[in-house]
């Protein structure tokens, strides 16, 4: 390793991190689909997939092979370049934003005495939160273009609905995070996590930071952003066939499908980082004596991070099994007339409280 | 180590393409887009000059330009929708009610 200079080592390590994170994320996406089918099945008094492998554990593999081997149909009337580009944009944007998420506690690796490389985060960007928001807002193009280029009225309606819904709820989403940013005084996700690490769960933003209102606004806006139930109007089967991806088949459909679940995971990551202390334990320094040595100390933060994300995914599925779909005017009214004002009041209250205390 | 002048030339290229598109295009929406392109080109010069003087004021000016551009886009697109509703066209040459 001595003949490589610092920049080359940095590049190699970064590529390695990207590959590892990508593989883990895609596997997680596949198994989130299985989890959803299983849990939904149990909630509706049936088994869910159980034939492929033990407990249906190989079902994602079977689904993947099926989608991969299906004929890739290209309808005649589509706008070909955009039709191909749309799922790539959707999946790409869903996966990019995971690059700024810190998975574990800051672990610096020093090579040749150079600047440290953070082991559990691909890129520590000082505007990480804005990067996540920006990449999410670019993801709208995937949906908008898929509907338009399909040349199908159901697709067009689905994508018009989705676009309007996403740009409306983006406001409430962005404003709900301002309270957290005010408390942390930074836009770097690492700093925001570190600001919640002092007293276990009592310093998490949702409890100690009194950001519980902001958290619920974020949760609802994020459900709308990811087009999940109860805000899944863009793909309402009963009205729009399958919404914006009606004309898609095979791998292109699979990319939209994966993009949806990858977006869910991103939303869960951001919620964990901003409101639930990221990779910090909920117990603070109580058990420091027991878990202070070596491997457990390094792995435990990742365990907590994955655990919190899993809880969010279960919440997603629970909500989907419980709530019926909104009507479209109700959806818009809810976003503009309820979530947005409440988010503003939340910012005002947080700012006043900080000004009073600080 | 790129000279600031190259950034400015890049901005000039974008600005002039914006001018040409503004003059040539006949669709109201595309004309509107070329205005946005020109605004972006000017923003690039602001950022380059801010970098040159090691000052943040140029960047703040860009921030204000962005805010105004967003407001302008909202109103402009509303006007375009109203126009389309009354005239059923987006071609600027067909919108000549006040002529003659």
């Amino acid at each position: 390793m001595t003949h490589l200079n610092t920049f080359e080592i940095f590049l190699l390590l970064t590529i390695l991190k990207i590959v590892v994170v990508l593989v883990i994320t895609l596997t997680a996406v596949a198994y989130t689909v299985l989890l959803e089918r299983k849990v939904l099945g149990r909630m509706q008094n049936r088994w869910g997939p159980s034939r492929v492998g033990p407990f249906g554990l190989l079902q994602p593999l079977a689904d993947g092979i099926k989608l991969f081997l299906k004929e890739d149909m290209m309808p005649l009337a589509v706008e070909r370049p955009l039709f191909v580009l749309a799922p790539i944009i959707a999946l790409g944007c869903a996966l990019i934003s995971i690059a700024v998420v810190p998975f574990g506690s800051q672990t610096m690796v020093h090579v040749n005495g150079g600047p440290g490389f953070d082991l559990f985060e691909i890129a520590n960007v000082n505007i990480g939160l804005l990067v996540v928001l920006g990449v999410t807002s670019i993801g709208v193009y995937g949906i908008a273009l898929s509907g338009w280029s399909s040349n199908n009225k159901y697709s067009l309606f689905g994508s018009l609905r989705a676009t309007a819904q996403v740009i409306s709820y983006e406001l409430a989403l962005g404003l709900s995070l301002v309270g957290v940013v005010l408390r942390a005084g930074s836009l770097s996700l690492r700093d925001i996590v570190n600001s919640q690490s002092h007293h276990g769960m009592w310093s998490w933003n949702i409890f100690g930071g009194f950001q519980i209102v902001g958290f619920f606004i974020y949760l609802m806006a994020a459900y709308a952003e990811t087009n999940r139930s109860p805000f899944d109007l863009p793909e309402a089967e009963s009205e729009l066939v399958a919404g914006y991806h009606t004309e898609y088949s095979s791998m292109k459909f699979a990319m939209f499908f994966m993009a949806e679940y990858a977006n869910m995971i991103t939303v869960a990551c951001v919620a964990t980082l901003l409101f639930f202390g990221g990779a910090n334990t909920p117990f603070g320094h109580v058990f420091d004596g027991i878990f202070s040595h070596g491997l457990i100390h390094a792995v435990l933060p990742i365990f907590w991070f994955v655990f919190k994300i899993l809880m969010f995914l279960l919440l997603y599925i629970w909500v989907r099994a419980t709530l019926p779909r909104f009507r479209y005017d109700q959806l818009m009214g809810f976003g503009w007339k309820f979530l947005l004002p409440v988010a503003m009041v939340n910012i005002l209250a947080t700012a006043l409280a900080l000004a009073y205390h600080g | 180590m790129v000279p600031i002048a190259y950034y400015l030339v890049l901005a000039a290229i974008l600005f002039c393409i914006g001018i040409a598109a503004f003059l040539i295009k006949r669709n109201v929406i595309t004309i509107f887009m070329s205005i946005e392109l020109m605004l972006n080109a000017v923003n690039l010069t602001f950022v380059a000059f801010a970098h040159m003087w090691h000052q943040v004021s140029g960047q703040i000016f860009v921030f204000f330009v962005m805010v105004v551009a967003a407001a302008e886009a909202a109103v402009g697109l509303a006007i375009i929708i109203a126009l389309f509703r009354t005239r059923q066209t987006l071609n600027v040459d067909s919108v000549n009610l006040m002529k003659n």
């Binding site: 955009l82 000082n126 804005l130 928001l133 920006g134 807002s137 709208v140 193009y141 908008a144 273009l145 338009w148 676009t163 740009i167 | 180590m1 790129v2 000279p3 600031i4 950034y7 030339v9 000039a12 290229i13 974008l14 393409i17 914006g18 001018i19 040409a20 598109a21 003059l23 040539i24 006949r26 929406i29 887009m33 070329s34 946005e36 392109l37 972006n40 690039l44 380059a48 801010a50 970098h51 040159m52 090691h54 960047q59 703040i60 962005m66 805010v67 551009a69 967003a70 407001a71 886009a73 909202a74 109103v75 697109l77 509303a78 006007i79 375009i80 929708i81 109203a82 071609n91 040459d93």
Partner: protein
């Protein structure tokens, strides 16, 4: 590094702008404009304006251009037709734009030495970070313009709602 970034994204920006000029369908023009804006965001970042880069992506590429694409889809705008007016525009427009470009490029390149060169990332005069400096200036010395823009946005929202309503 800076040179590579400048060349790649400068060419991407110019290609996007030319594509905007030569495409006949508004949605293709809109997408090429998105390419221009994303490349400009990278250039801003390389010039040390990371907040503006993020704002460019969120506000321009993520909101304004989505609105454009949305309106194009909503109105189902087709390929633009050419009329007699466009011929005059071709004859006058392209030489005019070229003349303006020649003038600007001449002035900039003549003063190339005086303008200096760039370093990757910002080096503002004795400040911690770009973000804190921007917010500090914005909320102290430029508070009045900032508040004025908020009023402007409010007026714009109301205007857009009134204009786009069914019964005018």
């Amino acid at each position: 590094m800076q040179t590579a970034l400048f060349i790649i994204f400068g060419i991407a920006a110019i290609a996007g702008a030319l594509n905007l000029l030569f495409q006949h369908h508004p949605i293709n023009s809109a997408l090429s404009l998105v390419v221009v804006m994303m490349s400009l965001a990278v250039l801003y970042w390389s010039l040390g304006a990371e907040f503006l880069a993020a704002a460019q992506v969120i506000v321009y590429a993520g909101a304004v251009m989505v609105l454009f694409v949305f309106v194009v889809m909503l109105l189902n705008a087709g390929v633009e037709e050419h009329t007699s007016g466009s011929k005059i525009a071709y004859i006058a427009g392209i030489p005019g734009a070229a003349a303006v470009f020649a003038l600007l490029a001449f002035v900039f390149l003549k003063n190339k030495a005086a303008l200096g060169t760039t370093q990757l990332g910002g080096d503002l005069n004795n400040v911690v970070s770009n973000l804190t400096e921007i917010s500090h200036t914005l909320f102290t010395s430029l508070l009045l313009p900032f508040e004025a823009t908020s009023i402007l946005i409010l007026v714009a929202i109301l205007g857009a709602v009134v204009l786009a309503r069914k019964e005018l």
